[in-house]
Symmetry: C2
Subunit: 160 residues, 2 copies
DNA sequence: CCAAAAAATGTTACATTATATCATTGCGCA
DNA sequence: TGCGCAATGATATAATGTAACATTTTTTGG
């Protein structure tokens, strides 16, 4: 679970609605539905996963095209992150706090797609950025994605 | 250019052929052709880019499926790296040296796909790995990909 | 040298991820 | 009320990648 397990999804969604308002947009029913799926999922989900989920017990059925549009919106205001290495999406882990989080670092379980979002120490980002500048490149993206094994999926490896 | 510009492609390909032999395989004509395209390209290329390139002046025309297979082989012995964030491929920048390089860090120009492969200080990797372990994740991948602007593409931004 | 085995490649089909485009709906506001 | 914009529906298509089996080429053992 990427979110603080103490908080219920409804509480997080309330924060998200306020966050949308601050950006001059609204957390519509369908946007809320997509975000709720991501918040309650233990794993990163693909757009097609989300479209499929909308056909089981959700309020509305969503076509993939709509899911992509909604994901793009949620990303644009920082409520959702896209994991480029997995072609999947996760809810930001900091929706319910001040949300002024530092550079995110995503630990992505190679086996089960479980994702943990943690902050990267500024010292590390500074090191990386300065290493880039010595080669003439300017660092743009503030997101690290790391292939990992989560604690559960690592267990079978012990016997290997 | 990702490779040392002092070295001619043929020299690098000679090293690659020896490297293949050390792994019990051969640098066939088509594998050499794909690798040569990557070595001489200033940018990261997609599998379909490489298939397309094979239709212009190359010895043999390659279907995308063959390109994927060849790329997978070249990756498996470390001659090629896949950039997951860009869905593109680059030749390793260290084919002609001892090739015992440290964890690679790829600076990828968002605009033109120019790529620079540099080593990451072990201290940084250690910091990242230990940060992961405190959350129960074991770091697997030894590759960082960073979205950047190269020096050329950064220029227009000055007036923005 | 020849035949069997293994490696490499050809070929077709298909799966997954993502975007383009135009039509339609819903909703706030003059 | 109805205009205008944001949101969504619907269809088609592009881009990326894999599966499965056939064929060719190379290696190897007799
Ligand atoms: Zn976040
Ligand atoms: Zn796992
Ligand atoms: Zn390399
Ligand atoms: Zn550039």
């Amino acid at each position: 679970m990427n979110q603080d397990p103490i908080l219920k999804p409804e509480v997080i969604l309330e924060h998200a609605a306020r966050y949308c308002a601050e950006h001059g947009s609204k957390l519509t029913t369908k946007r809320r539905q997509v975000l709720a799926s991501l918040i309650t999922s233990k794993k990163a989900l693909s757009a097609y996963d989300l479209a499929e989920a909308s056909r089981h017990g959700a309020e509305a059925t969503l076509l993939p095209m709509s899911v992509y549009r909604i994901l793009r919106f949620l990303q644009s205001i920082g409520l959702v992150h896209r994991l480029a290495t997995a072609n999947k999406y996760v809810a930001c882990a900091h929706i319910a706090c001040d949300h002024a989080h530092t550079t995110p670092q995503f630990l992505i379980c190679k086996i089960c797609s479980d994702v943990k979002e943690v902050g990267v120490a500024n010292s590390i980002i500074d090191s990386i950025a300065s290493a880039a500048e010595t080669t003439g490149f300017r660092l743009l993206n503030d997101q690290l994605e790391l292939e990992c094994l989560c604690s559960e999926c690592a267990v079978p490896e012990l016997g290997a």
